[in-house]
């Protein structure tokens, strides 16, 4: 296993940033908590739990992929991940269900759980897996006649943790920036004019990731 260097880190960071853009991933919640309490400190206080929940969702997806990688051929794993990503995309577009839990008066741990569930339910963690798979694959291109295994399992746990941390850093940066700027500067007027259908955009991202992972 080669140390992960170069482009994948940037990809992980940008993917995290992209996740942060989605209001369903937490910045909107942080703004609402600030408005509800009438102070900016509530926005800042929400960021830690949101990031922790998001990181946990990513770490879980990476860990599950690694565990499966130990027993499945890489090709099977990649198709499996692609199928799951498409499943999440279809779920976004066709069902668009509301979660049946949640509320405005949430404690820090509840907020972290919310963030974890939202990231998991939207396939955010799963979207990170292909980045690691493709990186792991790179060195083995030259030896494709050899039996291939997803080498995540062989990668040191700290690489997976590092990947999660980098992804979360990108997420936190954008989530925090959006929440603070919207709360203090832009206000909710933004929502009336600048709202794009992020559900569709998100589904598109899932499909693109699915295609990339098997191509």
């Amino acid at each position: 296993m080669h140390a992960l260097t170069g482009a994948p880190w940037l990809v992980l960071l940008l993917l995290g940033a992209a996740h942060g853009l989605n209001p369903g991933m937490g910045w909107l919640f942080a703004v609402a908590l600030g408005l509800q309490e009438g102070r900016g400190a509530a926005v800042w206080r929400a960021l830690g739990p949101l990031a922790a929940g998001h990181a946990a969702a990513v770490a879980l997806a990476v860990a599950v992929a690694a565990a499966l990688g130990a027993v499945l051929p890489l090709g099977v794993l990649r198709w499996g991940v692609a199928a799951l990503l498409l499943g999440f995309a279809l779920h976004r577009v066709l069902l668009n269900r509301h979660p049946r839990f949640g509320g405005m008066r949430v404690s820090q741990p509840e907020l972290a759980v919310w963030s974890f569930l939202m990231a998991s339910a939207h396939g955010a963690g799963l979207m990170v897996v292909p980045v690691l798979l493709s990186e792991d694959l790179a060195p083995s291109h030259a030896h494709h006649h050899l039996p291939q295994r997803a080498s995540l399992v062989a990668s040191p746990a700290h690489d997976a943790l590092l990947a999660t941390a980098i992804h979360t850093a990108g997420y936190l940066l954008v989530t925090g920036l959006l929440a603070v700027v919207v709360y203090h500067k832009l206000g909710l007027r933004l929502l009336r004019t600048a709202w794009v259908n992020l559900d569709l955009l998100w589904a598109g991202a899932l499909v693109v990731t699915a295609v990339v992972v098997v191509s």
Partner: protein, 440 residues
């Protein structure tokens, strides 16, 4: 619109033109008739509204497009699509009463609100005509029944309206009577014994558990429409009480919470009292003759979206009152407009010589707070007791002055034909009792 007369026509949803620049302004321009006429249609509502922007379930792209219409007598639920032709909504789904009974255990559905996680609807009671009444949910896309909402109902038995403080994860419900207590008309024995509803109930919106009952006193009979402040940081709201057994007055109560983020105990106090008016028994229907007075009968109230103006319908005396409730503990009467009424029979300015019956009943306020719409029918078995000459259905509009003031629009009087009666009004782009907010 509901059709209480067995004349072969079904109930219907009517579409009224509210554009003052239009040639058909103030007229019924479309009508979708339902297959049956036995529904007793009550408080219908939209499939989606501002609450879908709540940050814990943000699905901003659910369209405000479908109207969900409960039938209180048939337990049927009709779903209409307003998108293809807003003037002629299309009936796309009918949930039969038997299905509502089987899947929810409730009967007599009454009020619809779009919530952050689906459509909430309440019911007056159970299929056998008794209680408890309560709330059930529908999927906001498929309109499938999702079963009962309550997880622990505590002492709550009677049901009428429900609404919430989304910012405080709190639901409030009110009390009228079970189907058997109301569907044969107002029962004077039950009324004089104080058996109709007189409590508010407070629920945790997240755990769906009953938290607190607030008793307004057994003499405060029939605690109906709940109008919480729209501002999600303000834990207070107003509720109308139809009649006091002490003196036939009607009242409006304020419920409020002084704890941080609504964590304290909820309380309620009377903030508006409207006295009964003495009347000649000869002018009164049999049910009121012994009292020699006409009770105001507050049957609906509505709060403007900016939480500043409260509108109070007095269906008995035929008055719509406007109060400035900037200070919710001390409402200030700013205008009174008379139309209809059991004794008064006040006319509309478009036909000053012609008395109108029925009175201000369901009241709806536009989001800008400048237009107020009224209809005159309450509930057909009760209409017959208070207006025995038979309510002639009308809808009218008032112009509201944001600084205080009300005037009937002389160009706006919709009179319904063939015995049809109007009840709930919904405005196309949302209105003061459709939208509930998670952001201040």
């Amino acid at each position: 619109m509901l059709n209480p007369t067995p004349n072969g026509h079904g109930d219907a949803i009517g579409v009224v033109d509210t554009d003052p620049a239009s040639k058909s302004y103030g007229r019924l321009i479309g009508q979708t008739e339902f297959p049956q006429g036995d529904n007793e249609l009550h408080h219908f509502g939209w499939n989606a509204c501002s609450s879908h922007l709540c940050p814990y379930a943000p699905h901003a792209h659910t369209e405000r497009r479908y109207l969900v219409v409960p039938g209180t007598h048939s337990s049927r639920i009709h779903v209409l699509d307003t998108r293809p032709n807003p003037r002629q909504p299309e009936l796309i789904k009918v949930i039969e009463g038997s299905e509502v009974h089987a899947k929810t255990g409730y009967a007599a559905p009454h009020t619809v609100h779009c919530g952050p996680d689906g459509i909430y609807m309440n019911a007056l009671g159970t299929p056998d005509g008794g209680g408890p009444g309560g709330i059930f949910m529908l999927d906001h896309q498929t309109f499938e029944l999702k079963g009962r909402w309550e997880k622990a109902r505590g002492p709550q038995h009677l049901s009428y309206d429900f609404f919430w403080h989304l910012g405080q994860d709190t639901m409030i419900t009110s009390e009228w009577g079970t189907p058997s207590m109301v569907s044969q008309g107002l029962n004077p024995e039950l009324l004089l014994a104080g058996k109709y509803g007189h409590q508010l109930h407070v629920w945790d919106l997240r755990t769906r558990e009953h938290k607190q009952a607030i008793d307004l006193g057994a003499e405060q009979q029939m605690v109906l429409e709940l109008r919480p402040a729209h501002n999600p940081t303000k834990p207070y709201g107003f509720v109308g009480v139809v009649i006091s057994l002490a003196d036939l007055s009607a009242s409006v109560w304020l419920w409020y919470n002084e704890g941080r983020h609504g964590h304290g105990a909820w309380k309620a106090q009377k903030v508006i009292t409207i006295p009964a008016e003495p009347a000649d028994p000869a002018d009164l229907p049999p049910i009121l003759q012994g009292f020699k007075a006409v009770p105001p009968l507050i049957t609906d109230i509505n709060l403007s979206v900016d939480d500043r103006m409260l509108y109070v319908s007095n269906w008995g005396t035929g008055e719509l009152r406007q109060y400035d409730v900037s200070d919710p503990f001390h409402p200030r009467l700013t205008a009174v407009q008379r139309i209809g009424g059991i004794v008064r029979r006040a006319p509309h300015p478009s036909a000053p010589a012609r008395p109108l019956n029925g009175g201000p009943q369901m009241v709806e306020v536009s989001r800008d707070g400048k237009r107020v719409y009224l209809t005159n029918a309450l509930y057909s078995p009760w209409d017959a007791q208070f207006y025995p000459d038979g309510i002639k259905g009308w809808m009218t509009k008032l112009d509201a002055d944001p600084a205080g003031g009300l005037a009937l629009d002389p160009r706006f009087l919709v009179e319904l034909e063939q015995g049809m009666r109007p009840h709930q009004v919904r405005l196309e782009g949302g209105d003061a009792s459709s939208d509930s907010f998670c952001y201040s």
